[in-house]
Each structure stands twice: as structure tokens, then as C-alpha cells.
Symmetry: D3
Subunit: 245 residues, 6 copies
């Protein structure tokens, strides 16, 4: 199996973290192709950054599909561009937020997402609602810039731990979901330290991608995810115009 | 008052329809500045097109705000890029879907949105849910390409009428919301013909923009809509990077 | 445009506050006719008072419509008698709660209503739910009798400010909605003081009334808001019987 | 036990139907006092009629409580004035809609309410939602004026049966709730004819009233249903002003 | 009337508490037959215990129905086995949780359930949601093992009172529901002490059973609760196989 | 990896169908141990059968865990006994309904479950709601007894196809979920025939089990799924009593 994992921000060092998590989760025989978006913001924090991460993300997925990838993972916890990617691609596409929440729901009746910064709180809360977990999951913010997770000297991990501790006490969380792809390397250690399931979305999404490939499932094309209609695109985004079928 | 109305697709003839509806709704003393996005798809049909309409839309809003506009209207029924626009702009931003649903809710307990094509059904249903009207509003599809609305020889209006008739019978609709900016010129005639409120989102949004300006209200910046953090954007979208404060 | 603004309680000094807010919000060319209900409680605090405010309110709307008003605003945050008014009147009718929540939803992803007293908490929570904002808005109580808002020597404003401060900290409110018509004069100063949007429903409703008039929209009469059937009313309320069509 | 059953419309013949149903449901030792409102509409069809039925209803409950009734039933399927009555009275108050839906939920996973006319459809749907049954119950309209139920020559019963038949086929209803107090005498025969539970709210509410009395339960007075504050009421409704405690 | 009240755990002393509450709630002429399950756990705390309480419970209901009981009450706050019992029995079946929540909803707009231990929190929250009260009711845990309620020397009652006090302050509860059959004897005293309605489910369910019997209502058999199909059951549970009709 | 797949009904031929689907979905290196419950009904159709399938199911899971299985799949679309199994086991447990709905949600915005018979419609609808898909998924019934799926001469497949065709037309389904473990062998052929994703829960659950094992995740034990408390169980189920820790 060949699974494309796209880091939709443009910071290659974060792609390394993501790739390591993806590879570690992959089954024997699964090849992970981790790639960094070639255009857009260096980190995705809030709605504005999301918009400008999408074209680069879609370009990577298109390229990956053409190169033989059988499924794609969007490695940003906002599930940036997920609906558009499902419309565009013939291969299935998985977001790390939906994948992580799903696995959490299989091991816990109540759980808490700990994400990075205030700009992401409401977007993540809306995803929790969209995916059907509003009555089971809470969202907390660690107060950590995304790129601080790449810096070993920052207090990011300490802040994250403090918020997990609060989730255990105040939310009665039975599992923790790490709300940023940049936290992917922390799951195992946090699980050991806190003694409850700690879920990283990157690994979770790789497993969902394997599931869809193994079962021969790909996005249904009769409704919301029908292929984009061929039409002209104007200006610097013209290359993204859907080709005539 | 100066209100910017952005057509986020790149078809200037549709902007004319939109401008006429906006101008006709505007109060005395309100100046409408209608503008067409300079990049992206010629019409917005489904999730993929939405992504590529957003940068051009945001560029127009930024330009409009710099030029003195006091509020912005996004004239596409998908409320394309609304959250990002609210984060970016200091002036308030209104989507035509949210504006139309709101006015419908003031004149009807149950109502139906009639939108263009199947690709838009689920996105509009999700907006209906997001805005809190899931138990009051239904979504119907007329089976009309967006640009057919610009073509006087198409059967677009006939199909739209057929679907309105079904909404009256099957949904017991007490009002109709026109689910595409390109239908803005049809509201008055349809209202006369069918004898119930027919709501165009462009006019509705202009009035909401006037309301916010008159009351001195603009987007709150303490949470989901905090201004984008200054950071580098890479590649052809680099010009969109938020400046340092 | 002529807009009727009815204070459904019988305290004329509160009508003055309401009239000032309405007038200040109105567009050039809009004439505000503020009126005080001629029967019922001197303030509306809880479900019981609401019942006895309704006949007087409906009488004022009927009188206003006969006198040429083109829309009516119900200036009590319980949206007292709104459904009945919509059934009775040919002109559109707006409640200040629905208008305020709507404008809040255009400038904030999360917001808080601060209302007067415990008797109003649940009624306002139920309105928040009815209007579709249950997942976005919280309700707080300042512990202030409605008529204390008229008394410059009371600690009403201090208590209101204390609760707004809590909403900012504990609810992460991005906007504040003032949950009583008697607070209409405080919005601008509170907005300046707290640095986030503060929304008064009276002004908000006037703008919605202008919107409906400008767009030629009035209540749909095919369902929930069909005109009352002609039938005898018995006893002291007999004058309210709907006339034969 | 003494239970007051108020017909909030002013048609005494309907009170007879209600009284018969109430008496037939009552336990040995329960005394039913059925009473007709002394003011307001002769039938309650839609939101407007409801408003003018409330003062007379509340007057009857006040009188009944003073006379020793231990619980009150509001015998109109709109649960007219229920919240106000709970605030005013020291004795518990039950609406026939909430009572009927509750018993239906004890004998059926899915059920359908058949009410009288289109004006009542949305109000009843909103009650179904308020009482928590939106995912389990549907509402149908028989197209029958309330007072036609009193007329043995009308086709009211035939129309009602036709709609029950549709509920069985199209809604897969496992029980039927009769959506009007005026249908109270039909439940037993319809249950025999259609072979599934058919629930009349009047009997249902009498049993709930008995339950509350037997268990020594009455309305909690710490929040939404706190007693009305003493304050002046102006005009012809002045007699309804709450007395100083 | 003959009402079977089954204690689905196997602790006879708890059945005595239940029987006393049931008898005290019953109308004159109602005969309570309280019975203890003959197999399964000595107390029901969490999902696992529930499973093994069900066969014994169903055996008691089958025996009770054969012996002439006209309705059955399941006296465990998890409403253990309720759906299966409704499918199996011809007589109506009531759970004490649904009965208690219902009566609470008739006397309070907001209320709190206080249950025993953490293992029961989520199951009870899910019942609150299932029965439609998610926006009105909260669940609290007293931290008391079920059987400690039988022990006069335990601090169970003290802990329960502490949690009720918190519900009054923090939840603004207008009524309290006792979330365990073993608390049935405490309702009256707690109601006096705290001055708000305190509802025991056993008494509540007995009254609902009387209601259904009096009104001639029993479980509808056309859908979810159709009688089990005759089929072989294998192994030690073979005796539970539904007989051929 | 070793994954236990339990058929909770006692029909060994259905276990063969299940085993084939599980094996075909499993990754290289995953060992499937399919097992048939040793007690209870020969098929599970409705709530009653579910109860008596649970003890045998739990016995198989306990045995499987003791024998080294690393995860368990419950191969009945009612997700029979899932909560109890999660409480009992240290290894993670997956239901085929939750697994199938999840994968459907990754490839379709709207989808339809086609289950066997009317007795299963409401239980499956309730699972759809519980898992958060109420606004995205519909449930249809093919009118097929579970064991007819084992009979090559029955018209079961024809009826199933008819219902899928209706789902495409009437529900606008973008994917189909097969609502019975006994349909597991049909997914691939139906997917080819209808040209949209068709999802079998057995394969779906095997992949989720692999995901949890690979990521080192198992059920959180701090809340709803805490291990059962040691306590005596009475009667023929005594062997199921949780041992002292």
C-alpha cells in the first residue's frame, strides 16, 4: 500500500515529525510518502491560514495520486481542505482530526482534545460537532504556538501536560486526543505518564487510510463529493481548473 | 455608508445581477461597491471551486477595506471564505446565506432553500445546520448550472419554479430562500407569482451590513476571529501573508 | 419608513430609553413610533408577567398597523407575544431577542447574553435554543430588577459590568448581548469599556424591520402564521376576537 | 384527591367531553372538577387564540387552587399558558400534550400525533421538540376544525381515521397521540379499530396529576417557576397583578 | 390493579426498601408485588453488571405477567433491560429512570440527577439524552456504593446531601432526582430538608404503571417492540427462547 | 496481531461468512480467530434476542483475551454488548456497526444503512444517533430474516438490492452500509453493481482493531468503562461474577 501524508503547512521539520509518526503506525508493507506543501503558511493557526494552505495541499494530493498513492492523509488537525480534496481526488482522503476522534470514541465514552492556541479552539469545537461527538468530547487549549512544538527549549510540552491534567480532573476525560499534527511524537510518552489512551491523529489517519485501501473503498461520487465540473479558473490559480472529463 | 459586495466567482455578468439587487436593497445614502474576484473559478459549484474562490475574495475584501468600505458582503450562497474574511478584516463581513436564512426566520416558521445543483445540496444543508435552522428549513435543488441563470434562453427559471411549487406542497414552506446569488433578480417576480415571501440573499446581506455599520458593530477579535498571526507564507500565495502588527 | 416600537410593559420611562435607542439606530428617512402598552405589568419578569403583557402589546400593534406602520418591533427581550403578533399582523414583526442574537452571530463565533434576573434565565435560554444558538451562546444573570435599570442611583450597571467581565473570562465571549430592553442606552459605553461588540436588541430590531420593509418582505401566511380564524371571544377580552375576513 | 381540569376555551360542550374523559381515567377517590374558562376564544387554533385563552385559564386555576384543588390540568393540546400557570400556582400543573407524549413514549419507540388543523401543526411540532421527542414523534394534521369534533354530522372522525392510517403506513407509528382535547372520547374506539395504543391527553394528564399529588410533589420555586413578583398591573387586566407576598 | 415491581439485583434487603416506596406511592386498590431477581449481581454498577441482571429480570417479568400482573416496573435507575422487557411482555413496562425524569420535568425547568458512583455517570447521562432531557438535566455522582445505601452506619446519606447542595448552587437545580432505587426511602426527608421537589423513581414508576393500566394502554407491537420471533436458544439460556406463537 | 471475531449468535454457518470477510480484510500478519457464541439465540433480531446473546459473547471475549487475542470484534450489527465488553476486557473491543458507519463517513457525506427486518430498524436508528450520524445517515429495512441470508435459494439478495436502489433514488445515498454481519460476503459484488461504496462492518471492524493494536490503544478505564467491581453473582450466571482484583 502507498499512502500519501501531506503536511499542509510549509515547515519541513514538522513533516519529519509527521512522517515518523506515520511510519511507526503503518503496517508492514505500507509505504508512507510524507510531503510538505509547497505554498502557503508555515503553520496553520486559525481560519485565515487554512485558506492559504488549501491550494498547496490539493496540489500535493493531485501529484501524489498521479504518482500512484492509494490514499491521502491531511496532517493538520483542522482537517484543512478535506471536503475539496474528497471532491478532487479519486483516492480516499482522511483528516487527522476525524481519524483521531473516531479512535478515541472506540476506547472512551468521554474524551478531551487538547489543541494548541485560542485561534484553533472554535474551529476544533466545530469539527467535534460536525463529526458527531459534541456530547462526548471537550476541547481545551494549551496556549502553545504550533511551531513551539518543534522547539525543544520551549515550555510547550509542560503546558500541554498541565492541560491534560485538567482534562482528567475537570472533564473526567477517559482518553486524550492530541489536537495538532506537531504533537504526533508525544503520544506514547504521554500515554505512559498519564495512564490513559492518548491519541495522535497522524497515526490514526494512516490506519484509516489502510482500512479504506484494504477494503477497496473510495469516496462516493454521486453527491457532495462529485468531481469538480470542468470550467475556467482565472488568474494565478488557473492551473487548478478541473480538466474536462 | 459604503458597502463592498464581492462576487467571489470571476464572472462579471453575474456581478451585474448582484450589484442591481444590492443597489435596489440599499438605503438612501448607502453606496454599493460591487466587485468581481480577479482570480478563481467562473462559478462556484461545490467544495473544490470554493477553495479557489477564497484567495481572490479575500484580496477584494482587503482592497475594499483599504479603500474605505465599512462592511463587506460575500455574494455566494456557500458563504465562501466567511470565517477567514472575518478573521482578516477589521470591517464586518456578511454572507448571503446567513443573511437570507435569518430574514426567512423572521417571516416564516418553516421555509425552504432552493439552490442550483446537486453539488451544492450538502454544503447548503450544512450551512443550514451551522446557522441553527436544521429543524425549520429544508434544502431543494433545481438542477440548474449556476451560469445558466445568466442565460435568458435556458430553462433555469422554469426549473426553479417547479421546485418552489414542490416546496409549497411537500415541505409546507411558508417562505422560499433563493439559494444562489445569480437568482437575485428573480425574487420580486417569484414572490408575486407564488404569493409567499421569496428572499434573495444579496439584498438581505446588504441590509445586515447596514445594520452593523449603523450600530457601530464589527467582528469581535478575542477568539475565533482574532487577526491572523504574522508569519511567512511560501510560494505564489506569499503576498497574502499577514503583516506584522 | 414607519416602524412601530412597542414597549410591552406599562412603564413609560422605559419607553423613552427604548425610543432613544431606536431612533439612534434608525436610517435617515425612518420614522420611529415608540409606544407604551396600555395594560399589563409595569415590568416583565418571568412567564406570568409575559402572559398579561400580550393583550396590550397586540392592541398596540393592531393600532399601529391601522395607523400606517410598516413593521413592528416588540421591545422586550422575552420576545413576548411574537408568534401571536406575527399571526395577527399583516406587517412584519421583530423581537429584540432574535434580532440581537442574530447580529451577535454575525460578529462573533461565541457570545453571552447578560439578562436581568433569575426569573428570566430559563426563558432566555429557551429562546437561545429556539433561535438555533444553543451551541454558540451562553446566558448570564446580573441580578438586577428590570426597573432598577431606570434608577441612576442603583448598582444595576455595576452588577451588569461584573457579569460581563465574567463572560469574557469564563465563557470566552467574543461579543455581549444585553438581555433587556431597559439596557438599550448602555451598549455604546460598555462596548468602549470592554473592547468587544456589545449588542442592544432595540437597535438591532429596528434595523431588521428596515430590512424587511426595504425588501418588501412580510410574514408568510400559509402555515404557522396564518391569520386567526374569525370566531367569538367571550368576556372582557371579547374585543380581541378576529373579525370575519 | 381533587384535580381541577380547565378547558381553556370557552365552549362548555367541549368541557363535557373533557370531563367524561377525565372522570373515566381518574382513580377511585379522585374528584375531578372540570371547568370552562370564562373569557377568551371558543376554540384555540393557533398562536393568537392561545394568548387570549391564557388569562381566563389562569383565573380558573387560581380559583381552583383557592377552592382546594391539589393539582390542575390544562386541557388544550397546545399546553396553553403552562409555564405561567406553574409560576403562579402552588399546586402542580400538567398540560395534556406533555402528558400524552410521555405515556406514548412508555409504550412506543416511534409515534405520531394527529392534530386538528394546519394552524396547530407548527405549535405542536415545537412542543414535541421542547419535550424531547423530536427524534421519536411525528405530527400530522387531520384538517378538522376543533369545534367540528363536537358535531356528530361532520366528517371529522373520518378524516382523523384517514390520517391515522397514513401514520401507520408512512411513519411506522407504534402508537397514536390524539392532538386535541376535543378528541378525548375517541381514544378507546380508535385503539380497538387500529390495534395499537391510542392516547388521549386528558386522561393522561389526570393520571400525572394523581402521581404528583400522591408523591407530594409540586412545582419547584427556585428558578424558572418562582412566584411572580408583586407589582402593579395596569388597565383591564389589573386584577391579575400578583399580590405582595 | 396489580403491579409487579422487580428489583433486578439480587439483594433482598434492597427489595424491601423498594417495596416500601412502591406501596407508599400506590393508589388505594393497587396491589404491589415486589420481587427480587433470582440470578445475577447483588448490585448493578455499570454496564457489565447490567448484562447479567437482565435474564433474571426478564424471568421475573414473565412470571409476574403469567401470574396476572397488569404492569411491570424495573426498579433500577439504569432502566436495565427495558427495551427487551417491552418486546417480551404483553403488559406495559416502566423504568424508574424514565418515570423519575418525567415527573421532574413536570415540576422543574432544570433539574439534577444524583446517582451513586462514577461507573453509573455516563450510563445515566446517556439515559437523560435518550429520554430527551439533555438540555434540562445534569447528572452528579455522590461517590456511594449501591449497597452502602443499605448500611445505616455508612456516610452515604451525608455524601448524597453534599451533592444535592452542590446541585442547588452550581446547577441551579429546581428539583432533584434520586438516581438509584436504593435511595427510595430518602426522598421525603430530603425534600423537607432542601425545600425543593425530590423525586424517587420507584414511586414515580408505580404511578406511571397505574396510569397505563387505567387508560388501557400497553406496549405497541408493530415496530421496535414486536414480540420476539420464535427461534432456538442454545445452551444454559435455552429456557428463554421465545415460544412459537 | 491476533484479533478475535465473535459471532454473538449461535449459528456456525454465519460465523463462516464472517470469518471469510474478516480474513479477507486483515493485513498480512494479522491472525483472525473467528468464534461462535456457545449460548443464546441462533440469530439476533431485536432487543430481546440481544439480551440473551450477551453472556455468550462476553464469555467468548474473556476466553479470547485469556488466549492472547489483542482486540475483539463483535460481529453483530446491533453492536450487542459493546459497552459491557469494553468494561470487562483489557483488550479493545469494536462493534461492526460503529466501524462501518465510521468508514462510511470517510467516503460519503450522506449514506444509508440497509438492515434486515423491522425489529432492527429502531435499534439501528438509535445506534446511528448514538454514534453521531443522525443528520447524515438513514436506515432502511430489506424485509429479510437474518438466517435467510444464509440460504442461497431465498430472495434475500434481491430484496436487499431493491432497497439499495431506493436509497440511491430517495435518500441520495453516496454510500451504502450493509446492516447485518450475515451480508458480509455481498459487499464487493454490490459495490461493483451499484457503483458506489458498499461497506461491510466485519471488514471495517477488523481494520479498526488493527488500528488500535498498532497504535497501542486500549479502552480507557477511568470512567464509563472501569472494570466491573468484584461482587457476588447469584444463580446460573454466577460464573460471570467479576473476580476480586
Amino acid at each position: 500500500m502507498r499512502i500519501l501524508v501531506v503536511n499542509p503547512n510549509t515547515t519541513a521539520s514538522m513533516t519529519e515529525t509527521i512522517e515518523a509518526a506515520a511510519t511507526s503506525a503503518a503496517a508492514e508493507g505500507t509505504m508512507i510518502e510524507a510531503t510538505t506543501s509547497g505554498m502557503g503558511p508555515v503553520s496553520i493557526e486559525g481560519y485565515y491560514d487554512e485558506v492559504f494552505a488549501m491550494p498547496g495541499l490539493l496540489a500535493e494530493i493531485r501529484r501524489g495520486e498521479a504518482g500512484g498513492a492509494q490514499a491521502a492523509v491531511i496532517a493538520c488537525f483542522d482537517d484543512t481542505g478535506l471536503d475539496a480534496a474528497r471532491s478532487m481526488a479519486s483516492i480516499p482522503v482522511i483528516g487527522i482530526c476525524e481519524a483521531a476522534l473516531t479512535l478515541a470514541s472506540f476506547v472512551a465514552a468521554r474524551f478531551t482534545v487538547v489543541t494548541t492556541s485560542e485561534r484553533s479552539r472554535v474551529p476544533v469545537e466545530e469539527l467535534v460537532r460536525r463529526y458527531g461527538f459534541a456530547s462526548r468530547a471537550k476541547v481545551r487549549v494549551a496556549g502553545v504556538p504550533v511551531l513551539a512544538l518543534e522547539d525543544p527549549n520551549s515550555d510547550a510540552v509542560a503546558k500541554l501536560k498541565m492541560e491534560i491534567a485538567r482534562a482528567l480532573d475537570d472533564d473526567r476525560a477517559e482518553a486524550i486526543v492530541l489536537g495538532c499534527a506537531g504533537m504526533a511524537d508525544l503520544a506514547a510518552a504521554l500515554q505512559r505518564e498519564f495512564g490513559l489512551p492518548v491519541i495522535d491523529g497522524v497515526g490514526a489517519a494512516v490506519k484509516q487510510a489502510e482500512a479504506l485501501i484494504a477494503l477497496g473503498l473510495t469516496t462516493g461520487k454521486r453527491g457532495a463529493y462529485a468531481s469538480p465540473l470542468p470550467k475556467p479558473f482565472i488568474g494565478m490559480l488557473a492551473d487548478f481548473a478541473p480538466p474536462a472529463a
